[in-house]
Each structure stands twice: as structure tokens, then as C-alpha cells.
Amino acid sequence: MEWDWTFVRDIMPLLLDGLRLTLVATVLGAALAAVVGLVFAVLRRSPIKAVSLSTAAVVEFIRGTPLLVQLYFIFFVLPDVGISLPAMTCGVIGLGLHYGTYAAEVYRGGIDNVAKGQWEAAKAVNLTKRQTWVHVILPQAIPPMIPALANYLVAMFKETPLLSAITVLELMNQAKSIANSNYRYIEPMTLVGVFFLIMSLISVAFLRVLENRFKERT
């Protein structure tokens, strides 16, 4: 079978529509992951042993199991207990939870990396807990985290095709349905690969810029 440019032109609008959903899922998933990660990181630092240990166990469990199976779990099991969510919502929750555990590790590392003397100094000048976090710890902890977080954002973007398995009509699913109804796999599948490759290469270049920017400050 030969590569057919007219076919490419015909399917392009559908694929771009899929790409739009892919991006929406990535943005929403990333926002959820940022919040979920923060919750996990805070719970993990809890002085109550039961809370910190069970959080660590949950994080380990989510990190040790495949995203695809977690998506199936959310998509198929939740309706059985009376929670019916649209496929896209399930997908965003799955992405957010999964990558939230990765974000939690980044937050934890970033906070642990702030020198101990900073905490002591904050105490010495009688800052409240809130002031310590807002004015001393976070401004020093966040910049080094940014490249690592951006890295996971790119990783999550690449994983969005998994949402096609729970019927979200993102890029991969559009390509699959085009391929199945036209019996032509070369163009749609290759184009999906090319789309992802281009976006990833752009974001990798962007990552390098971020890394250099935040390295200078330390």
C-alpha cells in the first residue's frame, strides 16, 4: 500500500479535532495532578504516623500499577458503585491521580532540598508557619522543581492515547476509527506518531530552556 496524500488531506480535520481533545485532557490532567500531588506531599509529611505511612503506601501502589488498568478501574468499577462519570472525566481523573503521585515526589524532593538552616532562621525571626512557607520555603523550593514537573507534563501528554481505551475520542482514537472504517492504517497511525513526535520535540527544546533558566539561580 502506498502513502496517499489526498487521504491525508481528507482525514486531517478529524485528526486535528482529536488533537484538540488530547490537549484539553493534558491540561486538565496536569492541573489535577498538580493539586493531587500537593495533597499527597502534605499528607506524606504529616506528623501522624498512620497518615504519612498510608499515604506513602497509596502513592507506591498507584506508581507501581499501569495507568491503563487504573483507567479501566475508574471507568468500569465506579459505575457499579453508583458513580457514573463521562469517559473524559474518568480519563482526566486517571491522569491526574497517576501523575499526581509523580508530582508528589517532586514536591517532596524540592521541599527537602531547602536547607535546614532556612527553617531554623524562620523560627529565629519568629515567622508564623504560614509566613515561613509563603516567604521562605516555597520561593526556594519551587524553581528547582519546575524542570522536573515540566518533564512529567510531557510524559503525561504522551500517555494520553491511553484514554482511547476508555472511548475518549482523542487523537489516537480518531486515528483508529479512521483506520478501521477506511482499512488504511499507514497514514493515520503514522500521522499520530508524527504529531506526537513534533510536539514532544518542541516541548523537549522548551524543557532545555527551562532547565538552563532555573539552574543559573542556584
Binding site: F61, T65, P66, Y185, V192
Partner: protein
């Protein structure tokens, strides 16, 4: 009645374990080949390695798997689902591993290289007896994480109808209508496998660092 269904899932677990082992073996071989090529004297080899790594890290395992399985046949290469799975998983994780190999080798201090030159060791001797034994312990923890990523990646092969654990769970779901039991079971099994990998890597780590005490500060 459930024992039959659990047996089906167990059969899938065997396929998943198989895929993980074969995929890891391929990934390890590819990682060393590409990682060493990246540090080669020949610019052509370096360029090839960079293209390979960027290409496979730029797209996800899912897209690569579908490409291998659906597009390669048109180029005359038809693969069984298991072969396509091992190939895609191995090449994908191998690309991440190549960067680990490169980082590990580059982390060996310069004096070690200079000492090799001073002792007049050949290039192969230098790698085999001086650099790699010190670089390997640095690479292992990340290799362990990569192996777990590969294990998680195997779930995707269920989408090209290879009967791994996830595929079998879907079958059990469609046969019984129960969702919690099949998916809960495989989540636990995946996690157990991930634990086995991380424990195993820690054992190997202890082994390869033996005799290296004091050489690294």
C-alpha cells in the same frame, strides 16, 4: 466458580511476566548499544543514537506499538502480537536506558580515564575492567525504575489483543459482568510484580557494589 476466572487471570499474568522479562532483556541490550554509541568516536554512530533516543522518547509506547503492529505489515514485516509487544517495549524503554548508560559512564571521574591511559589499557579493557564496573552501580537504581515502567507498559499490549493480564481481566469482565474483582485482582498482581522487580534490583545492586567500598566518595 471464581477459581476458573482467577485461573484465566493467572494465565495472563504469565504472559505479562514473559513480556516484561523479554522486553527488559531487549531494552538492556539496546540501552547499552545506544548508550555506548552515543559516546562513540564516530559522529555517524553518535547521530544514529541521538535520532533513535529522541524518536522513541518522543512518542509513547502505545503509539509505537500500534505502528509496529499495524503499519509494519505493509512494509512486509508481519509480527505476532507477542513479538510486536516485545519489540516496541524493548525499543521504547531501551531509549530511556540509553540515557542512563550514558549518564552512568560520564559520571565516572576523569582520573579513572587518565589512569587507564597511564596504564596503557586498550579501549575495550578500559571499559570492561575500569569504567563499567564503577558505572553499573550508578545505573542500576534507574534501570530498576525503567523495568517497572516497562512492566506498566505491558498493559498496553492488551489493545493489540495479546492475552496478557489486562486482556484477561477484560474477558472476565465481559463474561461475568463483575468489574471490581478482575480489575482489583490485576492491580494487586501488577503491584506485586513491581515489588518483586524493585527488591530484585536492590539485591543485584548489593552484589555489584561489593568490593567498591571506598572507591566512591
Amino acid at each position: 466458580m471464581w477459581s476458573g476466572y482467577l485461573w484465566q487471570i493467572f494465565e495472563g499474568a504469565v504472559v505479562t511476566a514473559q513480556l516484561t522479562l523479554l522486553g527488559s532483556a531487549l531494552a538492556l541490550a539496546v540501552a547499552f548499544a545506544a548508550g555506548l554509541a552515543r559516546l562513540s568516536r564516530f559522529s555517524a554512530l553518535r547521530a544514529l543514537s541521538i535520532i533513535y533516543v529522541e524518536f522513541f522518547r518522543g512518542t509513547s509506547i502505545f503509539v509505537q506499538l500500534f505502528w509496529v503492529y499495524f503499519v509494519l505489515p505493509f512494509a512486509g514485516i508481519s509480527l505476532e502480537p507477542l513479538q510486536a509487544g516485545v519489540l516496541a517495549l524493548g525499543l521504547n524503554v531501551g531509549a530511556y536506558g540509553a540515557e542512563v548508560v550514558r549518564g552512568g559512564i560520564q559520571a565516572v571521574p576523569r582520573e579513572q580515564y587518565e589512569a587507564c591511559t597511564a596504564l596503557n589499557l586498550g579501549r575495550f579493557q578500559k571499559m570492561r575492567h575500569v569504567i563499567l564496573p564503577q558505572a553499573l552501580p550508578l545505573m542500576l537504581p534507574t534501570f530498576g525504575n525503567n523495568a517497572i515502567e516497562l512492566l506498566k507498559g505491558t498493559a498496553v499490549v492488551s489493545l493489540i489483543s495479546l492475552n496478557d493480564m489486562t486482556f484477561q481481566a477484560q474477558i472476565v469482565r465481559s463474561q461475568t459482568g463483575s468489574t471490581l474483582i478482575p480489575f482489583g485482582t490485576i492491580l494487586i498482581l501488577y503491584f506485586a510484580m513491581a515489588l518483586v522487580i524493585s527488591r530484585g534490583v536492590r539485591l543485584i545492586e548489593r552484589r555489584v557494589t561489593r568490593g567498591l567500598d571506598g572507591t566512591r566518595s
